[in-house]
């Protein structure tokens, strides 16, 4: 074994499964072969609230090739604690698009045709799908995602606001957004006696296995979930979605393998989305811009099926020093699908509001927005009092300012014109927690000089398979070519899911320690690998319990230049720069792509994307890629992401913080702030669509320049 080779973490190692992906050989869930596969097509509810009065499958069953029609009339009851997964369990309809029946057939076209012929009778009730201010049914939940208190209070915010020399009191709104990973949620389910294998598109095969086992009353050992390649998730595949249960139900009902891929249209109903939000932010500061009060009050929606309360105001608990502070969340249970995780739940919408309000405060104080943020840097985590493991937001702001060319910026809004364009620049800070969760891994040396690492981690495109290869290679002291990393299968050692930017930190900890143990064993055996190999296993649960108390967060700064055409309302973003402090970067190539991908989604959040609720019929009006504007290459110009080297010893063996989500945090605020700088008008409702710009065109100073 060599130990004097260069470290491979930190280099730009090519994606290890890249070859399979560029040649089309990487297999995704729907593409696994099995004999005699039956096709499943779900029937979506046509009403937003009410009771099913009857299901007439006669015409559907008459379609040649149809095997069965499943509904609450004949489907076996499912267990488990997620009501979104207990499909066909009652005659109630909780939202439009909810699965109320499904057709299983020999061919996809027979199933699709028959699905249209399942006659469902409804007793519809009046529904309410619109989040609006001061909704009479709004309530304070017990906790917000995943387990934060819904309300936090320090000092006396009202008194401090009353005494403040400068105040800002504004309300921002964000619409619903859909994750829209490119791969639709899909499952191929295969039963063998009372054992179930599901080839599935998810963000964590151990989690999916446990939920599937619970749904069918099986032991986890009876279920295997296989997901080596997943076509994106962004949170929407973090909790299993109904298609996995449906495929398993259908396969059992017809005694054959069965598969289902949701249509893009149906994904908008049953795969989660980011809740819309109404956010009031009040800031108070002394004349020098030092904040004395910060209040962030959020209203958002959940469903009648189960409560999901996004932690939107949580970043306001740690971002800035302010002795008087209030954060609250209120939710209203509407006749909608349950909102869920979408890239940086909490931080993404919450920091949009906070960082927009900070810009308004900078203007009100006559301060440069970077200087305002520097003045309000907290020494320690303001609410918990914990020390920061590392906090380099100021360095990100300062370095970013130098790279972006911020110095000498004229703060006057609405005064720069270039032809038909009004030009402005804006900045915002970013943050995202750096956590890790227990996971297990094994590392095995074989007599041929190779090493195999096993862990039920997920690579949904993030590059985790590659990062884990690098981590293992360094821990073993061997080149990465000699390491095989096996992930994406619940038969491997149990691992946490890909979510909360915790994947690589969680799995990497287990992999690194398993490899260290293996090396110790090998050293103990004099470096000789026995004929049948040698293996070590590591479970990080105890390490994580013993982690010292620190406030651990990644930070960043985002800079945007925008051009606004006040005649058409068009907004372009010629330049976007993100600078991040996220611990040690394990793979320069995949990390840069993560940051830029997040920033692109943030740009789209600011300007392009929006799921419009259908007040009349329920569900969403725009529910395909023709009407929901996922950014195309024409929407993005020059996006650059850089990072600051950060040496934080309080994180994990790699010294890394998660990077999958922070890229989307702050982008929308930086763009909105730049739009204000360009036009002199504050747009506080996202997305900043052309029609919204045109509505306020008379106020745009630059029109008369």
């Amino acid at each position: 074994m060599t130990t004097d080779i260069e470290r491979v973490t930190g280099t730009a190692l090519d994606r290890v499964e890249g070859r399979d992906k560029v040649t089309g050989l990487a297999r995704y869930a729907y593409e696994y072969p099995a004999d005699d596969i039956a096709y499943v097509v779900p029937v979506p509810a046509a009403i937003a609230r009410g009771t099913i009065t009857g299901i007439d499958p006669g015409d559907a069953l008459a379609v040649p090739g149809v095997l069965t029609v499943l509904s609450f009339r004949n489907a076996p009851p499912l267990a488990g604690n997620d009501p979104e997964l207990r499909i066909f369990s009652s005659d109630r309809v909780s939202y439009r698009g909810q699965m109320v029946a499904a057709v299983v057939a020999d061919t996809l076209e027979a199933a699709a045709e028959a699905a249209r012929l399942v006659h469902v009778g409804y007793d519809a009730e009046p529904h309410d799908v619109l989040l609006r201010p001061d909704h009479p049914e709004a309530y304070v939940p017990e906790k917000v995602n995943p387990s934060f208190p819904a309300v936090s209070e320090q000092g006396d915010v009202e008194a401090a606001l009353g005494d403040a020399a400068v105040t800002v009191d504004t309300t921002y709104t964000t619409p619903a957004y859909h994750n829209n990973a490119m791969e639709p949620h899909a499952t191929l389910a295969v039963w063998s006696g009372d054992r179930l294998t599901a080839y599935d598109s998810n963000q964590g095969s151990s989690t999916a296995r446990d939920m599937l086992a619970a749904a069918f009353g099986l032991e986890p050992g009876q279920v295997r979930v296989v997901s080596p390649h997943v076509g994106g998730g962004f949170g929407s595949k973090g909790t299993p979605r109904p298609q996995i249960v449906l495929a398993a139900l259908a396969a059992r009902a017809v005694g054959r393998p069965a598969k289902v891929a949701l249509t893009r249209q149906h994904m908008f109903a049953v795969t989660g989305y980011r809740t819309p939000s109404i956010q009031r932010v009040r800031l108070g500061a002394d004349a020098s811009g030092r904040m004395t009060a910060l209040a962030h009050e959020v209203e958002e929606q959940t469903s009648t099926l189960k409560e999901f309360a996004e932690q939107t105001a949580v970043p306001s608990r740690m971002m800035y020093a302010a002795p008087n502070r209030l954060t609250t969340h209120r939710v209203v249970a509407l006749d909608v699908a349950t909102p869920s995780w979408m890239r940086a739940p909490g931080e993404c919408p919450g920091m949009y509001a906070l960082e927009s309000a900070m810009d308004e405060l900078a203007v009100a104080c006559g301060l440069d927005p970077i200087e305002l943020r520097v003045r309000n840097e907290p020494e320690e985590d303001p609410e918990s009092g914990l020390p920061w493991s590392s906090r380099n937001v100021v360095a990100c702001l300062r370095e970013g300012a130098a790279w972006f060319g911020w110095a000498g910026r004229d703060p006057a809004p609405g005064v720069r014109r270039d032809g038909r364009w009004l030009v402005g620049t804006g900045v915002a800070a970013s943050t995202y927690p750096a956590r890790r969760r227990p996971s297990e891994a094994t590392a095995r040396a074989t007599a041929d000089g190779r090493f195999t690492v096993r862990i039920a981690a997920a690579d949904i495109g993030t590059g985790s398979r590659t990062a884990l290869t690098q981590i293992a290679a360094d821990a073993l002291g061997v080149p990465p070519e000699r390491v095989d990393v096996r992930i994406g299968d619940s038969a491997l050692p149990t691992a946490s899911l890909a979510g909360g930017s915790m994947g690589t930190a969680s799995w990497g900890s287990a992999v690194a320690m398993a490899c260290v143990r293996l090396r110790e064993r090998l050293d103990g055996a004099g470096g000789e690998v026995p004929e049948d190999g040698i293996e070590a296993r590591y479970d990080t649960a105890d390490d994580i319990k013993a982690d010292a108390a620190y406030a651990r967060h990644a930070f960043g700064a985002q800079f945007a230049e925008v051009r606004v055409d006040p005649g058409t309302g068009e907004i372009r973003v010629p330049r976007l720069l993100g600078v991040f402090a996220a611990g040690r970067i394990i793979n320069a190539k995949t990390a840069r792509s993560q940051f830029i991908g997040g920033m692109t989604m943030g740009l789209a959040m600011a300007l392009l994307e929006e799921s419009v609720p259908d007040a009349e019929f329920g569900g969403f009006l725009n529910h395909d890629l023709a009407q929901y504007h996922v950014p195309a290459n024409a929407d993005v110009a020059n996006i650059d992401a850089r990072w600051i080297e950060e040496d934080d010893p309080h994180l994990n063996p790699m010294g890394s913080k998660g990077i999958g989500e922070i890229g989307i945090v702050g982008t929308a605020a930086a763009i909105g702030n730049a739009v204000h700088h360009a036009t002199g008008v504050r747009f506080r409702d996202l997305p900043i669509r052309p029609d919204r710009v045109l509505d306020r065109a008379p106020q745009i100073g630059g029109r008369n320049l």
């Binding site: 730009a12 090519d14 994606r15 499964e17 890249g18 070859r19 399979d20 992906k21 560029v22 040649t23 089309g24 050989l25 990487a26 297999r27 995704y28 729907y30 593409e31 072969p33 061919t107 996809l108 076209e109 829209n180 990973a181 490119m182 791969e183 639709p184 390649h229 997943v230 076509g231 994106g232 962004f234 891929a261 249509t263 893009r264 949904i460 495109g461 993030t462 590059g463 190539k589 995949t590 840069r592 792509s593 993560q594 830029i596 991908g597 920033m599 692109t600 989604m601 395909d624 890629l625 023709a626 996922v630 950014p631 195309a632 290459n633 024409a634 993005v636 996006i639 650059d640």
Partner: protein, 158 residues
């Protein structure tokens, strides 16, 4: 109905094809070639891009019957044995791949662009890829891959 076509140089026959079926379905479900992806089935995303008689098309919008007698090339047909096509190599080198679901369509679209325009201007590249959505990468690295492949010309085979 029966559809006979050539895919990646091999003659193929699909039987019992329903009249409304797409070329994408025939490739993925009947011929065991799932390289081209189905992400929207309405011509919005380009994940299903393949060559049909030398022209790139969204296979989800082509009826199977229209492919009767045609020459189809999918992403699976671009590499020469173990040697990647220069476009595939450039996607790897430039880090233009994340989840990989958009990748097959993009690789075929870029292959076509560079075959027609070996040294494309940025506007040509953006136009050629206008119909290919990628939710993961934000396009920066995809555009870099196109530039890399163009710079290397035919030399990037590996």
């Amino acid at each position: 109905m029966r559809v006979e076509l050539t895919v990646n140089g091999e003659p193929q026959v699909a039987d019992d094809v329903w009249e409304g079926e797409s070329l994408l379905y025939v490739l993925r479900e009947r011929l065991g070639l799932p390289g081209a992806k189905n992400a929207c089935e309405q011509g919005e995303c380009g994940s299903c891009t393949v060559y049909l008689d030398g022209t790139v098309v969204c296979a989800c919008l082509v009826a199977a019957g229209q492919a009767e007698g045609a020459e189809v090339v999918t992403v699976e047909g671009l590499a020469d044995g173990d040697a990647l096509d220069p476009v595939q190599r450039a996607f790897l080198d430039a880090g233009a791949v994340q989840c990989g679901f958009c990748t097959p369509g993009l690789v075929v679209a870029v292959h076509d662009l560079l075959a027609r325009t070996p040294d494309p201007a940025e506007a040509d590249v953006r136009e050629a890829l206008a119909g290919n959505l990628c939710r993961c990468t934000g396009y920066e690295h995809i555009l870099a891959a196109v530039r890399l492949a163009a710079e290397r010309g035919g030399e990037g085979r590996s």
